[in-house]
Assembly symmetry: C2
Homo-oligomer: 197 residues x 2
Amino acid sequence: MSLPHAILTALLERPSSGLELTRRFDRSIGYFWSATHQQIYRELGRLERSGRIRALESARPARGRKKEYEVLPAGRAELTGWVSGREDPKPVRDPLLLRMRAAAVVGADGLPDELRRHLALHERQLAEYTDIEARDFTRGAEVSGPDGPTEADRLRHLVLRAGIDLERMWVEWLSEALRETGTATAAPAAPAGPDGV
Amino acid sequence: MSLPHAILTALLERPSSGLELTRRFDRSIGYFWSATHQQIYRELGRLERSGRIRALESARPARGRKKEYEVLPAGRAELTGWVSGREDPKPVRDPLLLRMRAAAVVGADGLPDELRRHLALHERQLAEYTDIEARDFTRGAEVSGPDGPTEADRLRHLVLRAGIDLERMWVEWLSEALRETGTATAAPAAPAGPDGV
DNA sequence: ACACTTTATGCAATCAGTTGCACAAAGTGT
DNA sequence: ACACTTTGTGCAACTGATTGCATAAAGTGT
């Protein structure tokens, strides 16, 4: 149930049309809650019908005509309530880890290649995040006013750092996994003595 | 599309009934792919109909009668194919991060409490994982034969360590987030000079 | 014998997310 | 004038996951 809230947040930051939202989801917000344009349009329709957002009057509604939305008080209230509520972290669901577990049973054929591929993807994502950090969250970047970062700046930076920490974790773990499985399949390590070091 | 493969893996490790599977999913496998008993029963039905598993003959089929399944060659082949295939990591979808982003817009009221709550949950999960590691993956534990850990042991250990690394990352990030938002709401930090260190 | 609890299996409805496609307007090249 | 591309909006069908409920057998206490 997070998509409507993601959209409300984005619209509060700046009123947008469906396509603009879609593009913004491909960048900032979508890093933590991705959505396709179809999902977004459907949700915009629901939010409008339930009185949480409304279309700016400018354009008469017609297919293919740009339609911008803004958040109504009911929408802001809804979002505030959601932020201050409770929601448990969902259990991890990771197909790669599952596949490694299956590989322990049916054999790890071709797994190192897949690990390398994932490593490259996570390295790329990490680089993207650190670029954003360097651009938006270093001393002197435009988001920092003369009084230093605002509360909002600090929160946004924290969110970005969660992404960075997460990607770094995967990069490190995948590197270690490659060290262990890569060498193992290529040349089985000489087993240590039964009770030795 | 991972649930059937998770079930096949579990059944290869040991033939089980639906309820036994459900319990095993609450422990090992479910740490990385959780599932309810309803999902599992439905999937067992599908897997049986498609000839990937079969019920052990012993018990005649009846509601409330235990029914054990074992994997057929077609099931093992299916699993092998899945393991050696490619599958991109899914983009992150984390409601907590989204809520922090929303908090940057509508205010972070009550957020520190929620962060503390999540911190406690992740610390608990981390402790659970490290317990398992101490029990199953230290020199001398029963899974290690006289020749040291097998390839399968090493893979399973890697999967567990991914869980450990992940939880550790959250514990550290949440601690840092609390340090920043906790103090920030209580007493705004004195801003550094505009161009200072 | 009876009610109560535990173990076990399963259906049906719903919901969120994904995929595939269609439609409309405006701009671009020839 | 015409075809082609880009921008923008949207529906419909499907799939996977969740929630709520129903059923059946076996064990337990009185």
